[in-house]
């Protein structure tokens, strides 16, 4: 496929003015090793074979593309759900975790570290490490450990060591800092599995490529169902942005496809308790790349808020920052309440309990002007089992 500015960054990792590798020299050998080898390893025949076999036989891919008839009727248009919630471990995160752990093995690494917010990426990484018999250490904000107890238990059961990040705001951004510090202190034997399309180049590109299986399948499945490969819209929630990157990937250069990214507005974009990075952020450097970052006027990174721990991140991947700035992507946001309402609506209409993250994408349907002729694909990035405590709490009020 031809190189384009949307799908792939330039050789230094830039999508337009966003990206790069803003890392201390201590990380240069690790990142350079990855940068010089990831494409060769990823596209090597045996790697592809093992990766796709695991996606099929272990993860359960392809995930269905489900025409949600009652939801479609409600919005008077055709809405397909890409069922990433049906993956083993319950979310799209496993696609990337398998890819990176296989890659780490080929790089000769003996130890895997990861960061996690909601715990989905941590669980996915712990799962693959268990499968492959590799040591796994997961950094998780102390606050997130409290609010995502079932996922913490799952990671421990899978043999991973969960280390609480106690610095800063004790959430995802601090877990990421701690993982990076671990990598600095263990430069030769450790691979850092980043869970989203963030971090220094080549992470955003590498993670997007591993997740691109989502849009690859959407294209093929849509062709079978509708006779056409291209939907009118692809909708996905965005924290760092990995499920959106995967769902958008093969449509990035198809201008007829509207790419709709949905951020978490928390209590409202201007409430002071939000995670809507494109609305509130400024260009800055966080976790190794230049992107949009929520920060104070002095450049201190602020603590975001979302009801979903997976979207509770003060940055956004550089690919998405570029999609936003260039206008190629449409960025909407949904509040905590919008997301919860959309989740209950999906349960009622389709018998599917979505993850709180995915519920933000569902909530965006209310904001779109629909003519009735659309073919919408919405990435249902994960399932809601992990969020039951939050949902139960809200259920009393409906």
């Amino acid at each position: 496929m031809e190189q384009t500015t949307y799908q792939r960054p330039d050789e230094h990792g830039y999508y337009g003015s966003f990206g790069g590798a803003y890392i201390p020299e201590m990380l240069h050998p690790n990142v350079e090793e990855l940068k010089s080898r990831y494409l060769d390893i990823m596209y090597e025949e045996n790697f592809q074979k093992e990766f796709h076999a695991l996606l099929r036989d272990y993860v359960g891919r392809p995930t269905p593309l489900f025409l949600a008839e009652r939801l479609s009727k409600q919005y008077n248009t055709a809405i397909y759900l890409k069922r990433e919630d049906l993956n083993h471990t319950g979310a799209h995160k496993i696609n990337n975790a398998i890819g990176q752990v296989l890659l780490a093995q080929r790089l000769g690494k003996k130890r895997i570290i990861a960061e996690t917010g909601a715990g989905q990426h941590g669980v996915a990484t712990a799962t693959v490490c268990a499968l492959k018999g590799i040591e796994c250490i997961v950094y998780m904000g102390e606050k997130d450990i409290e609010r995502q107890a079932p996922n913490v238990a799952r990671m421990r059961m899978l043999g991973a060591t969960v280390i609480p990040a106690v610095s800063g705001s004790k959430t995802l951004k601090d877990a990421t800092n701690e993982a990076i510090r671990d990598w600095i202190n263990n430069p030769t034997d450790t691979h850092y599995v980043i869970g989203s399309v963030v971090g220094p180049h080549p992470y955003p590109d590498m993670v997007a490529r591993f997740q691109s299986v989502i849009s690859e399948e959407i294209k093929a499945q849509l062709k079978v169902t509708t006779g056409k490969e291209l939907p009118s819209h692809v909708i996905a929630c965005v924290g760092g942005g990995s499920n959106a990157a995967g769902a958008f990937y093969h449509f990035l250069d198809e201008p007829s496809v509207q790419l709709v990214a949905v951020e978490a507005a928390g209590h409202g974009v201007n409430s002071g308790r939000s995670a809507a990075t494109t609305q509130l952020g400024n260009p800055g450097v966080l976790h190794g790349s230049k992107s949009l970052v929520m920060q104070t006027a002095d450049g201190q990174v602020v603590e975001p808020h979302s009801i979903s721990a997976g979207l509770d991140y003060p940055g956004i991947g550089p690919m998405h920052a570029h999609l936003f700035k260039s206008g190629r992507g449409t960025f909407l946001s949904a509040t905590d309440d919008d997301a919860v309402a959309a989740a209950f609506n999906l349960c009622k209409l389709e018998g599917i309990i979505p993850a709180l993250e995915s519920s933000h994408a569902l909530a965006a349907l209310n904001q779109m002007k629909l003519s009735g002729k659309e073919t919408i694909v919405l990435c249902l990035s994960g399932r809601g089992d992990k969020d039951l405590a939050t949902y139960m709490n809200k259920m009393d009020r409906i």
Binding site: E25, M26, D174, N185
Partner: protein, 256 residues
């Protein structure tokens, strides 16, 4: 000639660079700390610009940064504190920090204000050579500031040469691949230090990370032009009732 170049012109060995976080332990203690360091034997003052997400730092410096931010430190406040510092401080001053606050302040405005305040050099560990060469280096040079790159035991010889060429002031040799404040044996890195010596680099070399007392300072200074102390001094300042006395006692323990 820059203050840093002048220093290394007259002192080739045992140069002591001491790091402290601006706005720590008190918002307005920055100048007092600098004066104490000058008074009691430091050769360079490295002022940390506190940041919420300091990737290369260990817990001691991180905590001091958090404290400084809680105290109200920011780049604007720092520059206002440094405004008249040259009336009292003759030591070279190097600012150390991370890209994000600097970008938010405005990179060129930052360089201009730093130069106007009498700052001599910059250490921005997350500004790598590619971005330095294509975008930021020209601005730094325009304001006559030195820019100091880091090298580590894992940095290849070719890359050490590249970084040495881009650096002015001194080259910062990280003693081992780690965050700041780790207790690691310098002896284990002898081969790396010797390699740096034998390469006959353009810049003087200071060794940092893990230097905490007389023994480690002397060991490091034996391999290079001197060394950098950070976390150990921050610990000494923490809860110190008297900054001047704490600094005097600390520097005496390292130098005498």
């Amino acid at each position: 000639m820059s203050r840093i170049a002048k220093l290394f012109g007259s002192k080739k060995q045992n140069v002591l660079n001491v790091y402290c976080t601006a706005g720590f332990p008190e918002l307005n203690s920055t100048l007092a700390v600098m004066k104490a360091l000058q008074q009691h034997g430091a050769d360079i003052v490295e002022l940390g610009m506190p940041y919420s997400d300091p990737l290369a730092d260990g817990p001691v410096i991180q905590d001091s940064s958090m404290k400084a931010l809680e105290n109200g430190m920011s780049l604007s406040v720092l520059f206002s504190q440094l405004k008249d510092c040259r009336k009292e401080i003759s030591l070279p001053i190097v600012l150390m920090g991370y890209m994000n606050p600097v970008l938010q302040y405005g990179f060129e405005k930052f360089c201009a204000d730093a130069a106007a305040a009498g700052v001599d050099g910059l250490i921005l560990p997350d500004l790598p050579p590619y971005e330095f060469e294509t975008e930021y280096g020209a601005i730094i040079n325009k304001y006559g500031l030195d820019f100091i790159f880091l090298v580590t035991p894992e940095t290849s010889e070719a890359r050490i040469r590249q970084l040495d060429n881009l650096t002015s002031g001194f080259l910062y040799a990280v003693s081992s691949s780690s965050t700041t404040g780790k207790d690691k044996d310098l002896k284990a890195q002898e081969g790396y230090f010797r390699k740096l010596q034998e390469m006959e680099l353009k810049n003087p070399v200071l060794i940092g990370f893990g230097i905490k007392d007389k023994a480690s300072f002397e060991a490091a200074a034996g391999y290079a032009n001197g060394a950098i102390i950070g976390s150990a001094y921050i610990k000494a300042l923490n809860n110190a009732a008297d900054i001047d006395k704490a600094t005097s006692d600390f520097l005496a323990s390292v130098l005498k």
